[in-house]
């Protein structure tokens, strides 16, 4: 009894140590990732030069345009301009070398102190980076999550169905339709808009809700659903066949394992074989695929959002990139990096629950 308690305690210690190590590794990864993003978003300091010359130009224009400065000699004026520039540089923190500021940015980014945007404003007029990103995150999640969840689970269900009917008509049909996925979702989006909005006039062209938005929550929801139909279907059209095909092949490979045949010899029903001998051993891979695809959705899709005029994060990030608005770029990436790190950590835990082979690594092997 005492011995059992001791092994339990030592196992617990090992598990804690395992997760501590995972968290430290994840934190270091996050640190490096965010720093690289800061370097890239600022073009290694080149963005500073662009902004400095912009400030010089603005100051110069102001001095030239103002009559009060005309009485100054050109030497005096230049000196004065230099002074004004220095004040402006200091205001934006450009007086310090980029290397030092990059670490300051890193600290701010990691503490989610995302600061103010340089050019962009939120739809409500705020310059806060947090607001600029978060107000767009929700519509993106509504669109991307809806289509992703429908896509993932229907592909999985169809794939299981097909793996049972290898070589059947449906199986051959899905294989034949798989090349449809060569075209991206927005391509199908244009077609669907043409058919259902322009010709048949039964669904809206784009946007998230009717303009002006309905006051009633229920009507708002209905309007949202109507606007969701076309973008979700274009995602489904572009991915469902290849996705089903992939999973089907995966299940087929796993249903050829010796233990599946053994389960058959043991007299288990096919439903039971599917559950315990095909789905159960493949569950870690399914969960991984689910989690990793899930986080790629959070960034939104630039083209799909543009085609459907959807107020999503993808379009906002695009605006930020084309305007060199590094605080917004960094902010979006930091939020993304945190989401990614959390997901991977959660995935580690789920993996350890699902797969005994991983669990052993966490508990340091079985005692002999």
């Amino acid at each position: 009894m005492e011995e059992m308690g001791m092994t339990l305690a030592s196992n617990l210690k090992r598990i804690l140590k395992y997760f501590l190590v995972r968290i430290i590794i994840m934190a270091i990864t996050l640190l490096i990732g965010v720093y690289v993003v800061i370097l890239v978003a600022n073009m290694g300091g080149a963005v500073d030069e662009i902004r400095k010359s912009e400030i010089r130009e603005a100051v110069g224009r102001r001095l030239l345009g103002d009559e009060n400065y005309r009485i100054m000699s050109s030497e005096e004026r230049q000196k004065y301009a230099k002074m004004l520039e220095e004040i402006e540089f200091k205001r934006f923190g450009l007086d310090q070398p980029f290397l030092i500021r990059s670490f300051l940015y890193l600290k701010q980014a990691l503490t989610l102190d995302l600061g103010n945007a340089e050019r962009l404003t939120s739809d409500t007029g705020s310059r806060k980076v947090k607001l600029i990103i978060l107000e767009r995150l929700v519509p993106t999640l509504v669109l991307m999550m809806t289509s992703f969840l429908i896509l993932f689970f229907s592909a999985l269900t169809f794939a299981l169905f097909l793996s049972r009917r290898y070589g059947s008509f449906f199986d051959k049909m899905i294989i034949a339709l798989a090349p449809l996925s060569a075209a991206p979702a927005w391509f199908y989006g244009i077609f669907l808009i043409l058919i259902f909005a322009a010709i048949l006039k039964i669904l809206p062209f784009g946007g998230m809700v009717r303009v002006p938005p309905p006051d009633n929550a229920f009507e708002y929801f209905l309007s949202l659903l109507r606007h969701l139909v076309l973008p979700v279907f274009s995602v489904l059209l572009s991915s469902i066949f290849i996705s089903t095909y992939n999973w089907r092949t995966y299940f087929l490979i796993y249903s050829n394992e010796d233990y599946v045949e053994m389960a058959k010899a043991k007299g288990l029903s096919s439903a039971m074989i599917e559950r315990r001998y095909i789905l159960r051993p493949t569950m870690p891979a399914i969960v991984t695929s689910f989690a990793l695809s899930l986080i790629t959705q959070w960034m939104g899709s630039i083209t799909l959002e543009t085609v459907f005029n959807w107020p999503g994060l993808g379009r906002r990030i695009y605006e930020a990139i084309s305007n060199f608005d590094s605080p917004v770029i960094v902010g979006a990436n930091v939020i993304y990096a945190y989401l990614l790190a959390t997901t991977v950590l959660v995935l580690d835990v789920i993996y350890a629950i699902l797969d005994p082979r991983v669990r052993v690594e966490a508990t340091g092997g079985v005692e002999q």
Binding site: G167, D258, M262, A263, K264, A265, K266, G267, D355, V360
Partner: protein
């Protein structure tokens, strides 16, 4: 007769043609006896075991014949009835690649108890686990490993677990398809000795499939030699190992290396077995046979010699 197989055919469809893996095989086995199938790789031994258990692949082209189990033709059962009444309860199976025959994410005890619960051989999990423990003791599997996962066990232990899984259901017949071929020599001998003991103690009826003639000579009562999808000789073990009838059996026995006998070159059979896609119409062994004569251009029927069966023109009566 416990099992009586008549004219069993089992063909696969492949891109290059139909593979006649099991071609018109007939044999029978009494209760409490054992039958060993020997033959080269690719002669249809494993296909035969799958055909008896109806573990058909997707590309099956023909599956016909009669399999009488306790006098009932189970080939007439539909899949559901066959699954419920025959599999594991009547005929259990120990597969060839036993290393991979256990589900990697289920504990040993759960996997062993599963067929007992599904087949209604135990009503509660506790009862099933008791039966599992009993079977594990029989095969010499340490009970403290029951709660482990397959990857935490050695190959020999996994093999013992699978044999225990087959024994726990107390089936009438066990088919052992090369149960030890993936193991080292010592473990092989160990498991074979256990099998011998279990057979003696529990009156087990089994079919053992192997390419290892040495193993076969140790443990069998009856021997069937397979060549290119057919049985070429069926005999009791004692007379078979002293005096094989078929030229192929003769060569097969000569190819066993012996410890105390000095030989420079190990005996072997030149050539290869014929392809099972469109096999030749003559005697299938004739191309490699050292006793070939004119009659061998026609397929030989089965001749009976003192209760032994041989498929070779040499034993035609009235010569």
């Amino acid at each position: 007769m416990l099992l009586d197989v008549k004219n069993l055919k089992f063909y696969y469809q492949t891109k290059r043609g139909i593979v006649q893996a099991v071609d018109n095989i007939s044999f029978s086995i009494r209760r409490n006896s054992s039958l060993v199938f020997i033959g080269e790789s690719g002669c249809g031994k494993t296909s035969l075991s799958k055909a008896i258990l109806r573990l058909l692949p997707r590309n099956v082209a023909e599956y016909s014949g009669q399999i009488y189990f306790d006098g009932v033709n189970v080939m007439e059962y539909d899949d559901e009835k066959f699954r419920r009444e025959i599999r594991w309860k009547k005929i259990a199976f120990v597969p060839q690649a036993a290393m991979n025959a256990l589900n990697p994410v289920l504990k040993i005890e759960d996997q062993l108890a599963e067929p007992l619960l599904v087949g209604g051989l135990a009503s509660t999990k506790g009862e099933a686990l008791e039966k599992v423990k009993e079977a594990l003791r029989v095969v010499g599997f340490p009970l403290q490993f029951m709660k482990r996962y397959p990857f935490e066990l050695s190959g020999g232990m996994r093999q013992r677990a699978i044999i225990a899984m087959a024994l726990a259901a107390k089936p009438d017949l066990v088919i052992l398809d090369e149960p030890t071929s993936a193991l080292d020599l010592l473990t092989q001998a160990n498991i074979m000795n256990e099998l011998k003991r279990i057979k003696k103690e529990f009156g087990l009826t089994y079919i053992l499939i192997t390419h290892d003639v040495g193993t076969a000579s140790e443990i069998s009562e009856n021997v069937a030699v397979m060549y290119a999808g057919q049985i070429v000789e069926l005999s009791d073990a004692e007379r078979f190992f002293c005096n094989p009838l078929h030229p192929y059996s003769e060569k097969l026995l000569e190819s066993i290396p012996r410890l105390r006998q000095r030989r420079d070159v190990l005996e072997y059979i030149p050539g290869q077995p014929p392809s099972l896609i469109n096999p030749p119409k003559n005697c299938r062994f004739s191309d490699r046979c050292h006793r070939r004569f004119s009659k061998c251009d026609h397929e030989p029927p089965v001749f009976e010699v003192d209760g032994r069966i041989v498929k070779c023109w040499l034993y035609e009566r009235g010569e």
